[in-house]
Symmetry: C2
């Protein structure tokens, strides 16, 4: 499921159908929340923290790789520890790929021209095609269309994908994204662009599960009405839905993200899975890895009982 000559949008459809669920496990390592067995000493160097992060993420990958189609490392938590953290990120991505997972680098990069090309070359392309070796990257549209096209070009060249920030899950996301211009919000304008790109790349005429292109959109679980509306505006775009669980989004609220076959969206959960050992519900399990597995299976079950994911 790693490097493949087929477009990322199709790889993602195959992976979701194979695992029969659309769960994306967010790899957001935070020092203060590591399981006690992995906690470095209080005077640990950046290198030691980064090594603990790598071990933590790889153990999560061991647990979830047979169960879910995709993982999403949050680059900031690695970059926080400098070059040592970025080295850990590189190794975590490689390990996830080796276990058959698709990997979305959540870096929210955005710049212009050759600078955007440099970011695209940093992240997009597994099996040696890029140093970080991800299958997909999140990108920020504030600098305009010419800041996005280098990522689109790179995704075509390397059978990778991008998720463009359209409507984010945070309380303040409306500051720019909800502003109305001539009857459309900024989010809707970006959504139109995403749809045009993904429609051009998808092969809707061949098979239903090939109708989603490789240029997707980030749309938060925390704004269900906008999720439904944006879904209908982007019939050929994969949605990456953050905000499930810890941020408040429920399975029922994200039902509108899926088509009738349960395709079209992947749902990220970070803290709710990777730090499940800290929660009331899973705390009594014998190991933190069991908490990871139980919370992942519970999330899948919630999606299956509340949404069209049951049809996968």
């Amino acid at each position: 499921m790693t490097q493949s000559p087929i477009p990322f949008g199709n790889q993602l459809a195959l992976a979701v159908k194979e695992k029969r669920n659309p769960v994306c496990v967010g790899l957001d390592p935070r020092l203060a929340s590591l399981p006690p067995a992995l906690m470095p000493s209080s005077d640990a160097s950046h290198t030691e923290v980064a090594e603990a992060f790598e071990k933590f993420c790889n153990e999560i990958i061991d647990v979830v790789s047979p169960i879910v189609p995709v993982v999403k490392p949050q680059v900031a938590f690695f970059e926080q520890y400098g070059p040592a953290g970025m080295f850990a990120l590189q190794r975590v991505i490689a390990y996830a790929s080796s276990k058959g997972l698709l990997v979305i680098a959540d870096a929210k990069r955005g710049d212009i021209g050759t600078t955007a090309e440099a970011y695209a070359q940093a992240f997009l392309g597994s099996k040696g095609l890029s140093p970080f070796g991800a299958d997909c990257l999140t990108v920020n549209p504030y600098l305009g269309e010419d800041s996005l096209t280098p990522f689109v070009s790179r995704s075509r060249e390397t059978s990778t994908g991008i998720f463009v920030l359209v409507k984010t899950s945070n309380p303040g996301s409306g500051f720019i994204q909800d502003l109305q211009v001539n009857g459309s919000t900024i989010s809707e304008r970006i959504a139109e662009w995403v749809q045009s790109q993904s429609a051009a790349q998808s092969v809707a005429q061949l098979e239903t599960d090939m109708k989603y292109g490789s240029i997707g959109a980030v749309v938060g679980a925390t704004y269900p009405a906008q999720l439904a509306s944006l879904r209908s505006k982007m019939p050929n775009a994969w949605l990456l839905i953050p905000g499930y669980g810890a941020q408040g989004g429920t399975a029922k609220e994200i039902g509108a993200g899926f088509d009738s076959e349960g395709l079209g969206a992947i749902v990220n959960n970070s803290r709710g899975i990777i730090f499940a050992h800290q929660s009331e519900k899973y705390r009594s399990l014998p190991t933190w890895q069991m908490a990871v597995e139980a919370s992942t299976r519970d999330m899948i079950q919630s999606l299956q009982s509340e949404t069209s994911v049951k049809n996968l």
Copy 2:
């Protein structure tokens, strides 16, 4: 001029006055444009390219540190070479700080909550306060006010600064930034927010050169009318002006960025200085370092003859 208990906005004013010019040298290393003496072999590893970038940037720093107040490494060009590139970035920033330069990490980061905190902790804080050790970071406002405040808090704690993307220099910057909502463009709305933050931090009542806070704005040289208008909307904010030189902005066009004393803006030039050895005008100089110095001095002279920078 590196770590200091005084706010970044004031450090920048002191540095600009000391060097008597507002030139920011953009450190944008690109493999294909390196001087022949530094060019690694065509099969060079990422580590070898990163080492060449470090040597190139450090030699530029040797040339420009007695002349200009600030340098701006473009993070993408380092990240393109993976962890090895990020290690080179870390060392280049440390070297620039050791030579008395202020350092703006041009990373255009943007995320929410604790993720934004992680990016802020990665970059903001010299002398061991952060792994990358910069004095200032560029940030992207698309995710809203709650994505910016973690950077503002960190800047207060570490006497560092941020430059928020307001109006970028690229041809497509209007895609979102120029959209009008109730008579104001998106750029103007972000500008209002920047002004409110910098006004709260500046100490206008004490001295004229202390009137600029630590929360600045990126406003491109390539849109002179908007530059003038945005300058007037942000009287207490430093402007970081990209787009001079290679992208087409001239000294005359950016005159509106400065106050009558020549303060209030810094002007970035990347390719026009660091790759001056490739240009018609400087190609005949005996060394590439001489081309760097000559192009820097010519830029200073242009600003002095065309703008209030002569009053510094």
